[in-house]
């Protein structure tokens, strides 16, 4: 089966700083892959490259077998199929929660306002935000804001969802409600590539876990293997630090 997303030899530098040093990664349709690794290991940059927010220096990114990182590809149709949720939400503060969700529907897909609003209400209801449709982002809690951002990303019915440390900016007691939403998405057939520092969550939700270090995937496998019997010394070190800091039960 053709992978939904396939990265091969993806490289990216910012000046002399090599951020992605030859990434090879393929996700089957509906697969949930989590990337773990220290800050600066390249997780965020990789997600931004897949969404074409950052141009890659070298390598290919295939969506259903088509290279979307190639020169001359119009990024807009690609982005309709790949949603992204950011660490800091990046909601549009000047419009209501509902408008945050309908903007792409009316302006990108050209849906009539009534139809878009109906779709947005349904989606917000599903994410437990039915009563917040008329609110503005600044009036919501962090968890509600992040769920709104997920609703916004899901509005276009993307085939792939990229989650960039979606709980890192949240108070601890709000992390659960956002992770619940991601758990609920897991069975829906959407392909997910997740960067996270929530190790317990990564172990629970992933089909496969990748450990990134220095812009390369140094270890990859089912969660039980990567967390249970990591083979690469760098993975072992990283997990030892995480366990020592109390963020993962050994």
């Amino acid at each position: 089966m053709t992978p939904k997303i396939e990265l091969s030899g993806v490289r990216k530098s910012f000046g002399p700083n090599v951020v992605l040093d030859g990434i090879d990664l393929a996700l089957a349709p509906g697969e949930v892959v989590t990337m773990i690794g220290a800050s600066g290991s390249g997780k965020t940059t990789l997600l931004r490259c897949v969404n074409l927010l950052e141009p890659v220096d070298d390598g290919r990114i295939l969506l259903d077998g088509t290279d979307i990182a190639a020169v001359g590809i119009d990024p807009n149709p690609v982005r309709r199929r790949i949603g992204i949720v950011f660490q800091s939400f990046n909601l549009f503060p000047h419009v209501s929660v509902e408008r945050n969700v309908t903007l792409a529907l009316t302006e990108v897909l050209g849906q009539p306002v009534a139809q878009a609003r109906e779709a947005a209400r349904a989606l917000l209801g599903r994410l437990g935000l039915a009563d917040k449709a008329g609110a503005y982002p600044d009036q919501l809690s962090g968890g509600q804001q992040q769920r709104t951002a997920i609703a916004r990303a899901l509005a276009l019915n993307p085939e792939v969802l990229l989650l960039d440390e979606v709980t890192s900016a949240l108070d601890p007691e709000l992390v659960g409600e956002v992770l619940d939403v991601v758990r609920e998405l897991r069975g829906s057939g959407i392909t997910m590539l997740i960067a996270t520092h929530e190790m317990g969550f990564a172990r629970e939700i992933s089909d496969r876990v990748c450990f990134l270090d220095g812009g390369a995937i140094v270890e990859s496998g089912p969660p039980s293997q990567v967390f249970g019997t990591p083979s690469d010394p760098r993975t072992q070190q990283f997990l030892a630090r995480v366990i020592a800091s109390g963020r993962l039960d050994s």
Binding site: L53, R79, F86, N90, L103, Y136, D138, L156
Partner: protein, 218 residues
């Protein structure tokens, strides 16, 4: 005094018709200057050149240059009116100043907003229109009002090329009656308009903050 108020009406009229032109022109210039596509480089360059040239010469000189210069090209009435071309000059220079205000607003909107908009499949132009500009414009309302208050006063400069607006009327009256009061009267008339205008802008901003924001920090 009634004569002053009557003359002031001309100031108001010039202000009223130049303001929408200035805001529209300035928005266009600011957006043109903020484009990113490599193909639009000439557009960017033209906007930068226009803004630099208009801002680099004193307003009064532009009013002389355009207000006397264009009618001097031998056009027919009513196209040879110094009043018309004087206010066009005012509009053209103010567009350049206000464009820079808008551009500052556009650049103050965080890059992540653009990323969020583009990630949804919106084009660069759509991101500008629906996400960046609405936020940028809200943020620059205070400096924008500042410029409009300036404009309301600089309208008086058009008098220097002929039209009898309030400042000139005050000058005439002063000369006629050998009395300084008309200037004070003119100043009061200006204040009667500019102060409410400023307060109104404050009010709009406060309302906007209440609508979209959470609670205010002391």
């Amino acid at each position: 005094m009634p004569r002053l108020v009557e003359a002031f009406w001309l100031d108001v009229r010039i202000f009223m018709w130049t303001t929408p032109c200035i805001v529209a022109g300035a928005l266009l210039l600011a957006v043109a200057r903020s484009t990113r596509a490599p193909a639009l480089f000439p557009v960017r360059l033209a906007a930068i050149a226009y803004i630099d040239v208009m801002r680099g010469v004193p307003v009064i000189l532009w009013i002389y240059l355009i207000g006397f210069g264009v009618p001097g090209l031998g056009m027919e009435r009513p196209w040879n009116s110094p009043l018309l071309w004087g206010s066009v000059a005012l509009g053209m220079t103010y567009s350049a100043y206000v464009a820079e205000v808008f551009r500052a607003g556009i650049e103050s909107v965080h890059e992540s907003q653009r990323a969020a908009a583009r990630s949804l499949g919106l084009s660069g132009a759509q991101a500008m229109r629906f996400v960046i500009l609405p936020q940028a414009v809200r943020r620059v309302v205070p400096p924008l009002m500042n410029d409009l208050v300036s404009l309301q006063k600089d309208v008086a400069l058009v008098s220097l090329i002929g039209p009898i607006e309030i400042l000139r009327q005050a000058g005439i009256d002063k000369a006629k009656f050998a009395n300084f009061t008309p200037y004070v009267g003119a100043a009061l008339v200006f204040l009667a308009v500019t102060i409410p205008l400023t307060r109104f802008a404050d009010h709009l901003l406060a309302r906007e903050r209440v609508r979209t924001g959470g609670s205010r920090v002391r």
